[in-house]
């Protein structure tokens, strides 16, 4: 097991005393090495590209280019992304920070205890994935897997709240003008969006598009009954009746693999 190489850190804040505060806290961390500072968004991007730190302490509100735009710019570049710990006086950005896969989100004034806890968690994570070549490869693979697999949870935004919805709890999804109604047993969740967009996020092994206005989860289907014009009536476990239109039957890629004729029981 190779000895832990020091964590390389970079501090970004447009206010000097705020930077000094983080630097002071970092001075007490023996396995951490500060490789640079930046006093603005553009300077941050340049410094991160140059020094390639493992972790960046990033202020959100900075003139001209804010913390989120820094993350955007880094994502667009070729370099491996460092872990981001946002530090800000505003708590309203927490959800957005989560969406960009930030490692943590600390509120100003920064509490020493929370700061150290955050670093502790980072060390634990690195110990699990390792920080040598093997560790980096594992982390890359995990990232690729994350990006190409289908989520088993959807993040639903509702007014001020957001919550997770397990994809396996969904029975069927219905489009209603600009909204999507997600039927999960007795509950229905409303989501803004189009069915086409949602279809791309759903695993085609689990979900099938029945017609222009609905998608059903295969395991929620009780039976299919042939209907007129080559269509099927789809009966869900909760007795909802849907229609599998000919157009979507024809374009359903999974169907060919799934279709078998059972021996007729009458012969």
């Amino acid at each position: 097991m190779n000895a832990a190489t020091p964590l390389r850190a970079l501090v970004v804040d447009d206010e000097a005393p705020a930077r000094r505060k983080v630097l002071r806290l970092l001075r007490d961390e023996s396995d951490l090495q500060v490789v640079g500072e930046a006093d603005g968004g553009e300077a941050a991007v340049a410094a991160i590209c140059k020094h390639q730190p493992d972790v960046v302490f990033l202020d959100v509100q900075m003139p001209a280019m804010d913390g989120f735009r820094v993350v955007e710019a880094l994502s667009a570049s070729k370099i491996p992304l460092p872990e981001i710990i946002f530090i800000t006086a505003h708590d309203k950005f927490a959800l957005r920070a989560f969406e960009v896969h930030a490692f943590d989100y600390l509120l100003k004034p920064v509490s020493e205890e929370r700061f150290r806890k955050s670093l502790e968690r980072m060390r634990e994570q690195r110990a699990q994935t390792g920080n040598g070549l093997e560790g980096r490869l594992k982390a890359m693979l995990a990232q690729i897997r994350l990006e190409t697999s289908f989520p088993d949870r959807l993040l639903i935004h509702e007014n001020d709240r957001a919550y997770f919805l397990a994809v396996r709890d969904i029975s069927w999804i219905e489009a209603e003008r600009n909204y999507l109604l997600i039927h999960c047993g007795r509950k229905t969740h409303t989501l803004r969006g189009t069915l086409d967009a949602l279809e791309e996020a759903l695993d085609p092994k689990l979900f099938v598009r029945l017609n222009r206005g609905s998608i059903a989860r295969l395991e929620a289907i009780r039976e299919l009954r042939p209907w007129f014009h080559g269509e099927y009536k789809v009966l869900l476990l909760d007795n909802t009746e849907l229609r599998w239109s000919r157009r979507y039957l024809k374009s359903c890629p999974q169907l060919r693999k799934m279709a078998f004729s059972a021996r007729s029981s009458r012969s």
Binding site: P17, R20, G40, G41, A89, K108
Partner: protein, 242 residues
């Protein structure tokens, strides 16, 4: 006999109807008063939140928690300045107008604290004639303007932001001006700036309400060097001697 019976019934009916209507009117008025009070309480709550300005507070506390390890005396001063600022702001919000001396003191405290955050990146200049100390100005107009300059006008990089606060008398009016050498309003477009929700509309409306469109003036635009410049004109009046 018949006639007096009818008269009694008639009087009774009219009497009941009359009192019933009065009762209805009283109820409606009570409801209106309650609604107004609720709205006022809501507005006061919102106002309080705007005055306490939580994000300014958190950022300043963060700065104090950093400065205290380097210069305890300076951190102590910041704590006093922050308390004074909060106290003055809360007091100022209780009237429509305050003395210029108080308004400038609020701006000064605010800028002292901001200078601790920005250090050499912020420079401030005051040109306020001392004989204007007792003139009346609308409360809390300078600080929001200064905050706008700092929040939207800062240029990234090494160059320092210069803010200047000026107050002078011009005939029967008092002129207040806040200017900076930052980015200015995009394209010098004042109308767009008003629409950006910077609290400028609030100030303009208050001026109009207090002094009417003739006397109160609110001008926003870019100065010659490209920085923002906001000018207020109010009628020159002195506070009554206490």
């Amino acid at each position: 006999m018949e006639f007096s019976n009818h008269l009694v019934v008639y009087t009774l009916v009219v009497g009941i109807y009359y009192y019933f209507r009065r009762f209805q009117a009283a109820q409606a008025q009570q409801l209106a008063v309650a609604e107004l009070q609720a709205r006022l309480a809501q507005a006061q709550l919102e106002n309080l939140r705007l005055q306490i300005q939580p994000h300014f507070l958190f950022n300043t506390l963060n700065t104090i928690s950093s400065v205290m390890y380097e210069d305890v005396k300076a951190a102590d001063e910041m704590i006093t300045q922050l308390s004074d600022l909060l106290r003055l702001t809360l007091r100022a919000s209780q009237s429509h107008e305050i003395r210029l001396a108080e308004e400038v003191e609020i701006a000064r405290l605010y800028l002292h604290l901001m200078q601790r955050r920005y250090e050499e990146k912020l420079r401030v200049r005051y040109s306020v004639a001392t004989d204007l100390a007792d003139s009346l100005v609308p409360q809390l107009v300078l600080q929001p303007l200064l905050e706008n300059s700092l929040r939207h006008g800062m240029k990234p990089g090494e160059a320092a932001m210069e803010l200047s606060v000026a107050a002078y008398r011009e005939n029967g009016s008092l002129i207040l001006r806040v200017s900076d050498n930052g980015c200015g309003f995009p394209n010098g477009d004042a109308a767009a700036a008003l629409g950006r929700g910077l609290g400028l509309v609030n100030i303009r409306n208050r001026l109009a309400q207090l002094y009417g469109n003739e006397q109160g003036l609110f001008l926003i635009g870019n100065a010659a060097d490209g920085g923002a410049e906001i000018t207020l004109r109010v009628p020159f009046r002195k506070a009554a001697a206490c």
